[in-house]
Amino acid sequence: MKNSLIILLLLMCSTSIWGQSDSISKSNSIQVSFGLNQIKEKNLNNKVHSGISYLLKYDHVKIKRNLSKYNFSFLFSKIKTPYESASNSMNIQLNGNCGYLFSLKKTKKYDIFLGPNISGNYRLLYFPNWDDSHLYWANDFSLNISNRVNYSLTTKTSLLFDFDISVLSLFNRPELYRNYKIDDVSVGGIIKNMNSNFNFGTVNRVFKFHFLTEYQFQISNKVKQAIIYSFNYNAFNAKESMPFQNVIHQLSFKIYF
């Protein structure tokens, strides 16, 4: 894990590998993804819950000289440990993200942007085989450093790379010792739990890393598509709670409109 991050950081600093650019002025897109979702919720136990994740995402990007973007996504995943015969546990993630990235370098072949983005993430988990009475969560609102590189391959194909790293987060986690039998699982109760006891933390409390590489291509002049590989790593280490880790590898298909 650390090696990946070091390599990625080096790549972020190294602009020499990128070629010339061809930027998009304005785009909307819908993305459908599936992938591998892994979760280690140490409030529960030290085992990794894994499963296939399904994601739907809407993305908007606008480029003048600088780049502004926002997106929303919904992820659903049924997960299990090797100790369970069926995937009864589940993970739902809601994500919203907006950013404003400044143009660092612009050539005919490539554009490089760097700037802040703000993300809000709700991760709700239910592990009925391990804890049939309580919900688990790892939510955050984070200020991130975001980097984007658009690299033009041909007139109809291009590559895009995104890197995001969290800097400062407002986050909440359930307490390790919940001295009550059953969580309030009404809609109001879930909303209340998911939005209470937020704390501030820097990377020592919440570390989030996102990497994405996208290959854009056009089958016709009107429609542009892309295939994407993305990697997300989220780690929480709250005071009243045990660590939480989440890794998601995803392959996606995206249609621009």
């Binding site: 894990m1 090696n3 990946s4 390599i7 990625l8 080096l10 790549l11 590998i17 591998l36 892994q38 979760i39 280690k40 136990n45 030290n46 085992k47 990794v48 090797p82 100790y83 369970e84 009925p128 085989n129 391990w130 804890d131 049939d132 009475s133 309580h134 010792y177 001295n179 009550y180 039998k181 059953i182 309030d184 009404s186 990497f211 990697f231 790593y233 880790q245 890794v247 590898h249």
Partner: protein, 355 residues
């Protein structure tokens, strides 16, 4: 160079996966910690326990694929703490812990205290005569006695998988909630294990003593046993749950077992009515779902000449009078039955270790 970097990056990312870690700490022995509480510490040799067998029991609890959610195992013999271990976290020694349905046995025990205290005169008393205001118009329910509730023979259709959560969450009167369920059998006929009946007993004790079950427990049970750190959840109408959600430290859980072993006598004081306790821990009925012998909220284990309080997660207090033995096992209290532990094998080994 660029291609190599990208290739390495790709490989690295694609292989970035989380790794499993062991469920528990590695086995570090079972020598009790010296803390300033009321327990006298001893060792297996002095209490005539086979050390190898005892170690086998503790090893079993530590094994990875079994007893996966274990939190504590404590063995008391001859009134002394002989062995203890906290496989998940050594600080669990000082943490209160939900003992789930073992709570029912404490509610039974408090019934015996209320009898000793002359607050309850007969178990044949009708619940209707104690709190008529909570009954609806169905006449059959008015014949439910304290004894029927203690034997889970109220005949009320209280299904734990549905009604326990409703009981926990209801904003209405919790006793009315239980009593409004259909009566599908005549009271006193068929045992149906459920969380509703002990809640009815909680209200009986509350009415008889003019204090909540938890308040009464504090005064008459926890204070005499010097149990100071505890918690007991209540329904929203402030009726202590008679069936679940008593939180105790593992060693204090052991004190309850020791009190039972001593026939309800603590130091020189008789706390629990001995006749009631003897009856409560005798075979009075059998459970509807597994045919196991049952007393007044105690499970009877005839093959060991023992009785036990059992709770969700595989938790138990085992009392074996002829071995002068108490065993406490706690586990994560909310785990589904598929991860419940192989309790009988553990009990077998520990009882066998006692010469």
């Amino acid at each position: 160079m660029k291609k190599v970097s990208l290739f390495l990056l790709s490989i690295n990312l694609l292989t970035s996966c989380l790794k499993d870690e062991p469920f528990k700490k590695s086995f570090e022995g079972y020598v009790p910690q010296q803390i300033n509480d009321d327990w006298q510490i001893s060792n297996p040799e002095n209490e005539n326990i086979d050390e190898n067998l005892l170690e086998k029991a503790f090893q079993l609890v530590y094994q990875d694929d079994r007893f996966v959610m274990a939190r504590s195992l404590l063995v008391f013999r001859n009134g002394k703490l002989v062995a203890e271990a906290y496989p998940n976290n050594e600080n669990d020694i000082n943490r209160i812990h939900n003992i789930q349905s073992c709570t029912k046995s404490i509610t039974s025990l408090l019934t015996g205290i209320a009898i000793r205290d002359n607050k309850i005169n007969t178990l044949d008393e009708l619940l209707y005569s104690i709190y008529p205001e909570y009954f609806d118009s169905q006449l059959g329910k008015r014949s439910i006695t304290i004894k029927d509730a203690l034997l889970m023979q109220t005949g009320l259709e209280f299904n734990n998988s549905v009604h326990t959560q409703q009981l926990y969450e209801t904003n209405e009167n919790s006793i009315e909630f239980i009593l409004k369920q259909n009566q599908i059998y005549s009271s006193g006929t068929i045992m149906k294990y459920n969380d509703g009946a002990p809640h009815l007993i909680s209200k009986v004790i509350e009415k008889k003593t003019n204090q909540t079950l938890s308040g009464y427990a504090d005064k008459k049970l926890f204070t005499p046993l010097n149990i100071t750190d505890w918690q007991w959840e209540s329904s929203k109408d402030n009726t202590t749950f008679g069936a679940f959600s008593l939180f105790l430290k593992p060693r204090d859980f052991g004190k309850i077992g020791q009190l039972l072993l001593q026939n309800g006598v603590w130091n020189t004081d008789t706390i629990i009515d001995p006749t009631y306790l003897n009856e409560a821990t005798s075979i009075l009925t059998s459970a509807n779902f597994n045919s196991e012998p049952y007393g007044y909220y105690f499970w009877i284990l005839p093959s060991y000449n023992a009785f036990a309080a059992l709770g969700h997660g595989g938790q138990f207090i085992l009392v074996v009078p002829n071995k002068n033995l108490v065993v406490v096992y706690t586990a994560f209290p909310y785990t589904n039955e598929m991860f419940w532990d192989e309790r009988n094998e553990l009990i077998n080994i520990i009882i066998e270790s006692c010469n």
